[in-house]
């Protein structure tokens, strides 16, 4: 089982979390008048990296907060976690 460090509650077992997909995917603003290709990229295109991956997790059975985690997809090692809005 992964031990995921929640930035609010500290290290907790994976069972308490739900996965939220790739982090830092920015929604195009209406003002930028996104093209269909840009809109498609926002909705469907993900990096699917081998290696260090920034991803969102939610401590759903805990403090219920979303936050970000940097995980190595080859080893599952978690390098760090940080709150939403931080880098």
């Amino acid at each position: 089982m992964l031990i995921i460090p929640c930035p609010y509650c500290g290290p907790r077992p994976e069972l308490e979390f739900s996965y939220g997909g790739q982090a830092h995917v920015t929604r195009p603003t209406a003002a930028s008048n996104p093209s269909p290709a840009e809109w498609n990229a926002f909705q469907y295109e993900r990096a699917n990296l081998k290696g260090l991956h920034a991803e969102r997790w939610r401590h759903i059975h805990g403090c219920a907060r979303f936050f970000n985690v940097v995980r190595d997809t080859t080893t599952d090692e978690i390098l760090r976690s940080y709150r939403s809005g931080e880098k």
């Binding site: 089982m1 609010y8 509650c9 500290g10 907790r12 077992p13 069972l15 308490e16 059975h61 805990g62 403090c63 219920a64 907060r65």
Partner: protein
């Protein structure tokens, strides 16, 4: 499934083995900025848990830290009607939300030397006193059910589960107690 059903028919024996249902209590979900609420709550003689995953008690009421802006207030059923006006008066001018969740969940008390082992059968947290000291509280899971756990003493825990999950949680506790007693 059959085993669970059998376990459910033995509540009297199970209660002798270290867990029991508690009387209904008054429970409120409070969402508020902790920094803004600390002063007003203290002035109104109401508890507010500031430390992460710790409970605070003041008079008849306890506040359990569940999230950075979420508290569970627990008190006596007899004081239920008084809390909403007290809270509303105390937090006047502070953005907040109070929701009566008394009927949503029921409380189970686990006590005795087997309490941590019984908990560990369904909950993956570390119950060593260094990581979960007295006063520790958190939302977590018991098997597949979401529960609120509160360590009230070294060998006494309160487990709050939503009522629709109670047959599942108490069934597992009964089964666990039987296994511990049998030395499995």
């Amino acid at each position: 499934m059959l085993k669970l059903k059998a376990a459910r028919t033995l509540p009297a024996r199970a209660s002798a083995l270290g867990w029991r249902m508690l009387d209904p209590r008054s429970c409120w979900s409070l969402r508020v900025d902790l920094v803004a609420a600390a002063g007003p709550m203290s002035a109104a003689d109401l508890p507010l848990a500031i430390d992460v995953c710790r409970a605070a008690t003041r008079g008849d009421w306890s506040a359990l830290w569940l999230g950075p802006d979420e508290q569970l207030l627990v008190g006596l059923d007899s004081a239920h009607a008084q809390l909403a006006p007290r809270l509303a008066a105390a937090l006047d001018g502070v953005a907040h939300s109070i929701v009566d969740v008394s009927h949503r969940q029921a409380a189970i008390e686990l006590s005795g030397p087997g309490a941590t082992r019984l908990l560990a059968m369904g909950c993956p947290l570390d119950f060593d006193l260094r990581s979960a000291p007295v006063g520790f509280c958190t939302r977590t899971v018991y098997a597949k059910a979401e529960v609120v756990l509160w360590r009230q003493d070294t060998q006494r825990f309160q487990l709050q589960a939503w009522r629709s999950f109670l047959p599942y949680v108490t069934g597992l506790l009964a089964l666990g107690s039987q296994e511990l007693t049998a030395g499995i």
